[in-house]
């Protein structure tokens, strides 16, 4: 038995989980219909795929949610996991699931996938026969992903950085890298049986004034870590920046450089797709305005020529949306994409050159770290602040980079911390903003900029 398989046996041996039948799972995946694989749909590339977020505690309510989504002609079903499962607190999930079932009231903010198990969940997923995307935010997602794959969920979101720095305070980063290596290995293994399992990185990060160069570097690095393990289908992503132009520039650069680095490191057979997240920051507490924001984001997603868009709902500022509200959001988005025609292809040479230079400088610094493996290089880079995510709750994150919006809504770096971007690039960033004179005013401006869509 391989080392990986031995590790797998340990992982799935958990008091909260029914016994895993790996052979049965393998044959299920081998014979699974192509429709369940998003990588299969990406191949057609005939339209921008629409995917909401959504997860309810009970099987019954989750099933009903999928039914609503199907009526709205959804492209990709989501399975969002509750925050206890995310932090491997299966005991709490179990307790709250029981309470939710008894009281017909939602005591969890997502679907506790591990608690329900793969046998149950697979019934639902094969019933609807649409690709399902696993949305979580889990540093140690090993058991979760085994359960997902067994269930027929063939797109796994996350990664050691993007599901750590925004989603955890104390979880040891080095462990996260190893746990995600496991995830990638398992995905790569199953990818050989049928269409490839798609891995997706989570570009929005903290959704709070993260500069595009940091997003792109993290996307590329997580992609490379997955490709190292044999993953063949990968989606890079980012969320609305707050400036249409910055979104377009980010898209152009991320497409170009993710391909560039994949090829450079010898993974030219990988299929790379682009996912665009609608505004991930604070939403207005007015549902009509939220609808407007959502639709504007749909238009931008089409303009940046994403392959998939992940959408929000008019309930965002209030709480987990009702299923009707969520399905309505899908229907609205599909309508806009259907009627929106004749999109121009836009470029901004100067902005793209600057962003590209920033990304390459940081990538150079990461790749030339003295460590022996890529994950250790990245680990060191985060620890030293070469990669630094604003507003990360994680203790290891440097938290030195400070950003602010310019008059056109672009996120600009005003304190580069340890980011190894050139003086020229940093000067370019600073030249775009009129910095308020006092520290208090800068803080007020940052608070104001966080609420750009309020």
């Amino acid at each position: 038995m391989s080392l990986l398989q031995r590790e797998r046996d340990v992982i799935v041996n958990n008091e909260y989980v029914d016994k895993f039948d790996f052979e049965e799972i393998e044959s299920f995946i081998k014979n699974a219909p192509k429709e369940l694989f998003i990588s299969h749909h990406f191949k057609k590339r005939d339209r921008l795929l629409v995917q909401p977020r959504g997860g309810f505690p009970t099987y019954k309510k989750m099933f009903a949610l999928y039914e609503e989504f199907m009526k709205a002609d959804i492209d990709v079903l989501p399975l969002t996991v509750d925050s206890n499962t995310r932090l491997n607190d299966y005991a709490m999930s179990k307790k709250m699931l029981a309470l939710s079932e008894e009281n017909e009231m939602d005591m969890l903010n997502g679907y506790p996938l591990v608690t329900h198990g793969y046998r149950t969940t697979r019934k639902m997923i094969t019933h609807f026969n649409k690709p399902v995307s696993l949305r979580h935010g889990t540093p140690d997602a090993r058991l979760l992903v085994e359960t997902a794959l067994g269930s027929g969920i063939f797109e796994i979101e996350g990664g050691p950085i993007t599901y750590m720095l925004p989603y955890s305070k104390n979880f040891p980063l080095d462990k996260a890298f190893l746990y995600w290596k496991y995830v990638d290995k398992v995905c790569a293994k199953y990818s050989q049986l049928n269409e490839p399992i798609n891995r997706e990185s989570f570009g929005p990060l903290t959704a709070t004034l993260v500069p595009p160069c940091v997003v792109i570097v993290i996307q590329i690095v997580e992609m490379l870590l997955s490709l190292e393990e044999g993953v063949k289908s990968f989606s890079v992503s980012f969320s609305q920046n707050g400036s249409m132009m910055q979104d377009i520039v980010t898209s152009n650069v991320i497409k170009k450089l993710s391909r560039f680095y994949a090829d450079k490191l010898g993974y030219s057979d990988t299929v790379i797709n682009l996912v665009y997240h609608q505004w991930m920051g604070a939403f207005p507490r007015n549902k009509e305005l939220s609808d407007s924001l959502i639709n504007t984001n749909t238009v931008i997603a089409a303009m940046v020529r994403a392959d998939k868009i992940i959408i929000k709902t008019r309930d965002e500022a209030f709480g987990i949306p009702t299923m009707q509200c969520n399905a309505q959001s899908v229907a609205n988005t599909k309508y806009t994409l259907r009627t929106l025609k004749g999109l121009p292809v836009v470029h901004d040479e100067e902005e793209e050159a600057n962003l590209e230079a920033e990304v390459i400088s940081i990538m150079d610094a990461v790749l030339s770290d003295h460590a022996d493996t890529l994950w250790r290089k990245v680990f060191n880079s985060i620890r030293s602040g070469i990669i630094d995510v604003p507003f990360s709750p994680h203790i290891i994150n440097k938290n030195e980079v400070i950003t602010i919006r310019d008059d056109n809504g672009n996120i600009r770096i005003i304190d580069k911390g340890k980011l190894p971007i050139s003086d020229k690039c940093f000067a370019y960033e600073k030249s775009k903003v009129n910095l308020p004179p006092t520290q208090t005013e800068v803080i007020n401006k940052i608070i104001h900029d966080i609420g750009a869509m309020l």
Binding site: K169, T206, P393
Partner: protein, 134 residues
């Protein structure tokens, strides 16, 4: 005034937490910020340790109810009758009404409950409450 603050449970929404830290300091408080992902026990420990006047808990992701039900027992156990217990943020999963939420959390042992209340409005109310009390 000493304030212990943080985000309860498996909740990692840090943005409000950072702003609360800044705002409390601007209002002249001594702030002990435990950050996100903090258990009720950790909060109580910090209150005892720092001899705080106020415990100000945030919750954003809808988990609070599951965590805070036991507050009344802890409060009695540690005899923290003089400490003001405040909670704010987004206190339910899904959309919920104030008229359901506020009494519920008061019954768990909170003195002040701010469900989806703007930060400054809440902190103003807190200051007023502290004045009325002394």
């Amino acid at each position: 005034m000493k304030v212990v603050t943080g985000v309860v449970g498996n909740d990692i929404h840090v943005v409000a937490n950072r702003l609360i830290d800044i705002s409390l300091q601007a209002r002249g408080c001594e702030v002990f910020n435990l950050g996100v992902n903090t258990s009720l026990e950790e909060f109580i420990d910090a209150v005892v340790e720092t001899d705080a006047d106020i415990l100000l808990i945030s919750s954003l992701n809808g988990e609070a109810e599951g965590w805070c039900r036991d507050l009344q027992f802890l409060r009695a156990e540690y005899q923290l009758r003089d400490v003001v217990f405040v909670i704010g943020g987004n206190l339910a999963v899904g959309e919920a009404k104030d008229s359901d939420i506020v009494p519920k959390y008061k019954s768990y042992g909170f003195d002040l409950v701010f469900h989806q209340v703007d930060l400054n409005t809440g902190l103003d109310a807190l200051e007023q409450y502290m004045k009325d009390r002394s």
